[in-house]
Point group: C2
Chain length 689, copies 2
């Protein structure tokens, strides 16, 4: 069989799980068993996530009764295309079969596995081991029958050749003078066998009853570096409301830092009713700009732009300029309304009305959010609501947006998300959705399963060594590995973690290195991070003082203490080292010091290995012995290998499994080592030229 | 809602997994999510196994968007009965809900979970936390609406009471002079709330799309002690062919040892063609009795009895006498034929014929089994073959057999086993099937999934501490825990393990204690074990010399070296300690000596804890420190507790977490401790009276 063939699909989509119990099955002669096909998310209820161009490795657990030989193929197709492709699967031992395919385009795929007991291969497998001359003669005649059967399934020249082979085998088996050794050699002819294999008898094939779904995203779904800013604070003139044009002026600096996703909080008209003032004051002053998440006013709602930021053409121009620099603009989708959002008058049935004639605003008693009306997803008019919300995505996709950061998806209907993401990705498969759900684990996992491409994580609150090890081991190797893509943020406009409230450079560097090397996707709430904004609004709280959420801010990008150069280096290391562009290979390395965290990541092909060591204590130098087995990184245990610190550009020669490390937070609190296996590695000399 | 209600079933059996993607779902207002229902085997493809009378604990992962309150119920039914039972599920935290049900009879069951966002409970949950008087007044009016809705779903007195409550709440909320505290108290009235809860609005309920299957077996499927013997060797007179009557005479001794399953190798007529001689000789002598697994001769096949053993009435009598002693007779089912089995002439199409006109005998080249013809499960006449093989089970069930030990099921069609076990257990749910498959792990697991009640294990070849720990941890806690019930055998007629070939008493005791305390089901190939038959046929092999498989043997049950008293004690300990009657609770305990293996098992209710310590070295005494955290066995860490060795009847006082143990193989190589938490435990004094 050729490596990949195209055959028409005939898989029934649903299993008839218990048909056998009610009576005889339709064909009891089928003997091949397919016990598992992996990966699978909830037995195919949800799609596995992969990236276009990456090989998707499929494994199947297949066997049959007795000693007969199986053949197994992987069959895959685009979900919207009935033409299927087959790839032979190879046995890895222990009844595990393996094959892979590379999704050629973004979109949804389906895959399943087919196995059959192969009479020709079974016969050949036994013939190899036969020694008794009488057995060999009888077996040769059995083989001639199998080969004739292959010939009947073949056409043209192959049919003739196989018939001739069968005839020769039959004749020699019947000839008592023929040498048994020659007979066995003829029976086991490799060229003929290869020809016969192209015409297998698949009439008794077993097909895995589920065609498993898979989403192939573009690469940025797996590997992305996010930068969040408030456009209204991007003006170079203090006190002036920033505009999209101001953001365009910042683009080269953002691109130079190495970010590839630029994310804005909502850019829509901001409600005036119940508007919040600075520092979340219940009553706004006349010049207060309000929270961008209180969406909608007389000027428009979720499809409109706040006039102070610019016109639609300005936004379009920004998206275009960003793209030219390799940056995607990500839109914030917050499905909620200010009291003066046009929806409230146009579609009152989409909100929950109280007996006093007011709308039920968002609350979690005794907390109240008077400036925000949630949608009522139990409304009788839910179809219209869903279709309208879907049109919000479509509107911005029309404006060039391909990435959406969804605000609090866990407070909206899960069924809605599954539907809307499915619909949008069917028509625009390049779209990426990031779920901003800081909530309970099972809820976050469900959102990822039902379609979100990336998910915010608990990283911000994982600070100690054991916490980080446990959490990222779960992310890299737990059940979510096939559907939950972490996006790690050291800060957000809502979260100034206590650790950052000292403003110490070492903490900001440490948390950045951790986010950027533990997770293939990470992000920072930008100006506030690189300029180390550290003042909390309330002692013990995580809100920023004078937060941009409620007022304009001005940022001094020329501050000599800016972390921009450090961030630039980190992002360059990420871009140049495939090991850091995926999550699955992460493994932690033992270090005998609780303040030192070490871990290795390896690229898919094994050629690129990055070992990161971080000092978690921002105040003191720490040293310790790190354990790294050379064999685990394909290094000869007898040879020295070079560890090239891509942060400091220092080089260390290591040998064996135990290595001394020391990190002083007063210089750089981390090593990001590239393993140089040969001293004259091609990347070794030109790296920092 | 009452604890258990009966409602008509309306579950659709199959999920419409991806309907939402093709367009709007049928009811987008449904907001409750059921992410997982556990236990489940391959997402419901196969049944979970439990035992009648044991509570089946079901967990579900359920949540909804936002802060609304869910109600969740477990729904279960007999598979053949549309009447369902509902049990409210309780939240355990972390979105896990729990409930259980007790299958009242043996048979197959189905269970699923239903969840809904409950407007009444959501309202009440918020009302509890409200403090603002205006909010409370408005919320009371909202509550009156919810209560009225409950009233509309109620009838009779409840309807009246709920209407009255709603009216009172409405009136008090409208009365500006009414005290807010009184209004809140009226709204939160517990008695009224309990009444309202009985009439929930389930119109937007989510139902888990799969009704998961469960098999409730009788207790012996979980907990059984097997004794294997060859009836033909049971004659008290050396040289005379044993009979069923001879076995009847042995029954009291077997019952006294504490066994509850008596298993015979095949009892059918033995083929004469190609009969094997003593020690597997290719040519039998005239007086050789042949292998019982070469089934079938002129006298009959799988439904017949070897005349030398007795008549059908003798077998019936034996089954009856055994049952009176609490013993089930287990029948060996080996679906293969001697060349002179009547099937070969009557149904030649059930065998694979070779071009020379002979039948393809069993072989695994270059090995040959000329005395055995396998069935061809790919025969065109497979329906007739399956129905005939099923009738073999039915025949012996008619003779009172309820347990079948199936020989090499992995060399017969898996689809056949799934069908035949399903059919037999539907009509005879008390039937137990033991799979004798010593083969690759995935194959053994598949056989267990598709219906075998118990499975032979690798125990025989797991001898070192780490091997035993790893293997039994996997059996107790791995994915097989819901469907793979281990049955551990220290020996079988096919396996005289190298360890046993010294004949040392300590080895025989050690392996017996391990099998009987690690696994809830275990067995021995009896006379050869208790009389320590240790001579191998070939050096380095595992076959017995002068094996009963090919000749008559005579056993001296009066041998003073017999292990019968030791076995009797072990089986009594098993019978009296529920901790040893299940597999799930096993956990190994650290001991700082590689020759000492220690583990604890705890009964379902926690009241019975057995700690076993075994010296794996048959030659030397070993001592070490065993770690047992008192809290893990519900013992106050400050108090001493008594460890009562049920083998030696010695008592030890332990305190804290570290305990010294010492075992000398020259006396008894094991402790089987019962933990006595109180010094005056009720079982303490009467145990060995």
């Amino acid at each position: 069989m050729p490596e990949t063939t195209r055959t028409p699909r005939k898989t029934p989509r649903a299993p008839a799980a218990t048909a056998a119990i009610a009576g005889l099955p339709s064909n009891g002669r089928v003997r091949a068993v397919i016990d598992q096909v992996l990966p699978a998310v909830d037995a195919g209820r949800f799609a596995v996530k992969r990236v276009v161009g990456d090989a998707v490795a499929i494994r199947a657990h297949c066997f049959t009764d007795g000693h007969d030989v199986l053949r197994v193929v992987l069959r895959w197709r685009r979900e919207d295309d009935d033409n299927t492709h087959e790839v032979p699967m190879k046995p890895l031992g222990n009844d595990v079969w393996s094959a892979s395919f590379v999704p050629p385009e973004v979109g949804r795929y389906r895959y399943t596995v087919i196995a059959w007991v192969d009479p020709f291969e079974s016969w050949r497998h036994e013939m190899v081991r036969r020694v008794d001359p009488d057995d060999i003669r009888i077996a040769a005649r059995v083989g001639a029958q199998e080969i004739s059967a292959c010939a009947r399934r073949a056409g043209g020249a192959d049919r003739k050749a196989l018939d001739a082979w069968a005839g020769a085998l039959q004749a020699m088996a019947a000839d008592a003078r023929a040498e048994v050794r020659a007979l066995k050699a003829l029976a086991l002819d490799d060229v003929q066998a290869q020809r016969a294999r192209a015409y297998p008898d698949r009439s008794l094939a077993t097909e895995h009853p589920i065609e498993l779904p898979l989403v192939a995203d573009r690469e940025r779904a797996r590997f992305s570096s996010w930068y969040e800013l408030f456009p209204r604070s991007s003006s170079p003139t203090p006190g002036r409301h920033g505009t999209f044009k101001d953001v365009v002026a910042r683009l080269p600096a953002i691109a130079a830092m190495g970010f590839d996703v630029l994310y804005f909080p909502p850019i829509h008209p901001i409600g005036r009713e119940q508007r919040k003032g600075r520092n979340n004051a219940l009553v706004a002053q006349a010049d207060d700009v309000g929270s961008p998440w209180a969406i909608g006013a007389a000027e428009g709602g979720h499809k409109s732009i706040l006039p102070a930021l610019g016109k639609p053409a300005d936004f379009l121009n920004l998206v275009k300029k960003a793209r030219a620099l390799g940056i995607d603009v990500a839109m914030d989708i917050a499905f909620q309304c200010a009291p003066d959002h046009p929806y409230v008058k146009q579609h009152p049935q989409w909100f929950r009305w109280r007996p006093d004639g007011t709308v039920q605003y968002a609350e979690n008693p005794p907390k109240k959010y008077q400036d925000i009306y949630p949608f009522n997803f139990e409304t009788d008019d839910w179809q219209a609501l869903w279709i309208e919300l879907k049109s919000v995505f479509e509107h911005w996709i029309g404006e060039g947006v391909t990435i959406f950061r969804v605000d609090n998806p866990h407070t909206k209907s899960f069924a809605f998300w599954e539907w809307v993401i499915g619909e949008i990705k069917r028509d625009h498969p390049e779209t990426i959705f990031l779920a901003e759900a800081f909530t309970r684990p099972k809820v976050m996992h469900r959102l990822a399963k039902l379609g979100f491409s990336q998910s915010y994580t608990y990283f911000t609150w994982r600070n100690h060594k054991h916490e980080l090890q446990e959490y990222f081991t779960e992310l890299a190797s737990g059940p979510g590995k096939d559907y939950f893509r972490p996006n790690a943020w050291p800060n957000t406009p809502d979260i100034l973690h206590e650790q950052l409230q000292t403003g110490e450079s070492a903490v900001y560097m440490t948390r950045l290195v951790l986010a950027a090397t533990l997770a293939a996707s990470y992000g920072i709430y930008g100006p506030a991070y690189e300029l180390r904004e550290y003042r909390p609004r309330d002692p013990g709280g995580e809100e920023y003082l004078d937060s941009e959420k409620y007022q304009l801010r001005h940022w001094n990008h020329d501050d000599p203490g800016s972390l921009a150069p450090f961030i630039t280096r980190i992002n360059r290391i990420r871009r140049e080292n495939p090991a850091l562009q995926q999550d699955g290979s992460l493994r932690f390395l033992p270090v005998d010091n609780d303040q030192l965290l070490a871990y290795a990541k390896t690229s898919e092909d094994g050629s690129n290995v990055i070992v990161t060591v971080v000092n978690l204590d921002p105040h003191q130098a720490h040293s310790g012995w790190l354990q790294l087995d050379p064999a685990s990184i394909q290094v000869d245990p007898q040879q020295a290998f070079q560890m090239h610190d891509l942060l400091s550009n220092q080089r260390f020669s290591w040998r064996g499994a135990h290595h001394y490390v020391r990190l002083d937070p007063h210089s750089v609190p981390a090593h990001v080592f590239a393993v140089r296996r040969r001293l004259r590695d091609e990347r070794d000399f030109d790296y920092y030229l």
